[in-house]
Symmetry: C2
Subunit: 117 residues, 2 copies
DNA sequence: GACATTATGTAGATGGTCGATATATAGTAG
DNA sequence: CTACTATATATCGACCATCTACATAATGTC
C-alpha cells in the first residue's frame, strides 16, 4: 500500500483542510497559485482566504509529495507563473480526503448534538 | 456591502473545534476533565481523543474566560476531581459556535464540490 | 512492593499559519 | 517619470496550539 490514508483528528484538522481546498480547486483544471487563492476566496464568499505565506509552502510540499505537478510557463518576459495540476496520486488522495471529511463532519455533528441530513 | 464579518481562518476553526467538543459535552451535565475526554472519545467512536496536555490547558482557559465554572469536589481523601459546568455565557457562546460550524460546513462543502442537502 | 488506573497538571519540542519583507513585471495616476 | 497598485512567486521570524513526556497523588490489585 502506497497510499497514505488521511485520517482526520483535531490536530490535522487545519492542515488537511487547506490541502483539501487546494487540491479540490485544482480539480477544475490546472492553475497557478495566485489564481488558486483568488478562486477559493471567491467560491467561499470571502470566508476562506489564503495568505501567501501559507499558500506557497503548502504548494511546494504537495509538489514534493507528488500530489501536484508544477511547470513554469515561459511566456517570454512576462512568464513568471507556475501552473500546477493534479497528478493521479493527487486525485486518489483527494478522494480519500473527501471521504475522510464526510466522515469527520458526520461524527463531529453527532457529538455536537446535531443530526446530519 | 456586507458588514465586516470576521473571516475565520483555518487555525481559529481548529481552535474552536476543540472548544466546541468540550462545551457541547458539558451541556449533557457537569463533569470533570478526565470523564469529559472519555465521553468524547466514546461518542465519536474513538475518532476524537484528547491528550491531557491538550485538554487541561483548554479547560483552564475556558474557565478564565468565564465560559465554564470549575469546582473541586471535596469527597474526603479521594476527592481530587474538579467538576466543570457550563455558565450562561458558555451556553450562549456554544450556540454561536454551532451556528458558525453549520455555516462553515456549508461553505466548505460547496467549495469541495459537494452539495449540502 | 510493584504496577495499573483514575485524575490533574506543567514544560519543552514540534509544526503550521500569519505578518512582514523581498523580487519582478505591467499598467495607471499624478 | 515617478509613485502606486495589481499580478505573481518566495522566504523568514513570530506566534500559538497541540503533542510528548514528565510529575504528582490516591486507590485497588497481584
Amino acid at each position: 500500500m502506497t497510499s497514505k490514508e488521511p485520517h482526520l483528528g483535531p490536530q490535522s484538522f487545519a492542515k488537511h483542510f487547506n490541502e483539501a481546498l487546494i487540491l479540490s480547486s485544482l480539480q477544475d483544471g490546472p492553475k497557478h497559485g495566485y489564481q488558486l487563492a483568488l478562486d477559493i476566496e471567491e467560491q467561499s464568499g470571502g470566508r476562506f482566504g489564503f495568505k501567501h505565506g501559507t499558500l506557497y509552502p503548502i504548494l511546494h510540499k504537495l509538489e514534493k509529495e507528488g500530489l501536484i505537478e508544477g511547470a513554469w510557463s515561459d511566456e517570454g518576459q512576462r512568464g513568471k507563473r507556475k501552473r500546477y495540476q493534479l497528478t493521479l496520486a493527487g486525485e486518489l488522495y483527494l478522494n480519500g480526503l473527501r471521504k475522510a471529511w464526510r466522515d469527520f463532519m458526520g461524527v463531529f455533528s453527532g457529538v455536537m448534538g446535531e443530526e446530519v441530513s
